[in-house]
């Protein structure tokens, strides 16, 4: 289950992949470019983000939804249409 966190000035927990810039800078950039391509039939990239759900602030991971059909919808901004 998603873990609730308290409203306040804490920074949201965001899991990021560590970018080793110092060593293989050029290779890293090429890798990131390839990474942008989502392909059907391939695994959806996992993520953990803060979310608002049923009156609570929670940390949410895509991996929690294994075993279920998921519709993941991105949209430009709140107070616009979706």
């Amino acid at each position: 289950m998603p873990e609730e966190f308290k409203a306040g000035c804490q920074r949201p927990k965001i899991e990021k992949e560590e970018v080793k810039e110092s060593k293989v800078e050029e290779n890293q950039i090429i890798k990131e470019d390839n990474f942008n391509m989502i392909k059907v039939g391939k695994p959806a990239p996992d993520f953990t983000i803060p979310a608002f759900h049923q009156g609570k602030f929670v940390d949410l991971s895509l991996s929690e939804f294994k075993g279920k059909w998921v519709l993941l919808c991105f949209y430009p901004g709140d107070f616009t249409f979706v």
Binding site: A44, I49, F52, L71, P76, V82
Partner: protein, 142 residues
Amino acid sequence: MQKLGIEVISISVDSVFVHKMWNEYELSKMVNGNIPFPMGSDQDGTVGKKYGIYDEDSGVETRGRFIIDPDGIVQGFEVLTPPVGRNINEIIRQIKAFQLVRESKGSEVTPAGWKPGKTTLKPNPELVGNVWKEWTVDEVDK
């Protein structure tokens, strides 16, 4: 969506606090109650970049939607620029089709224009060259 066994997650670059306000001030008036699904916040576009729908120029996420199956596999996606909204009925149709294919373990497939209740095809060697007997072009408009 919940009736169909689909979990919805929405994501934008807005903070969870703005999500809360939007839910309270506007969305709750549209749907008569709270938004039932989690509204994710991706303020620096990390997730949007992973899915290739983050627009660096405007700093927002475009209208990308991804259908992910119970194994975590992306089965379909669509990405629109911000001014045009989605067709929810088409998304539901696609998910129902993917669910049917999965339940049949791939023994049935849904041809062009398929809707729930319409003819599916059962791929096998005899079907090759004989699709015309099972399925006609005017099925697309029905």
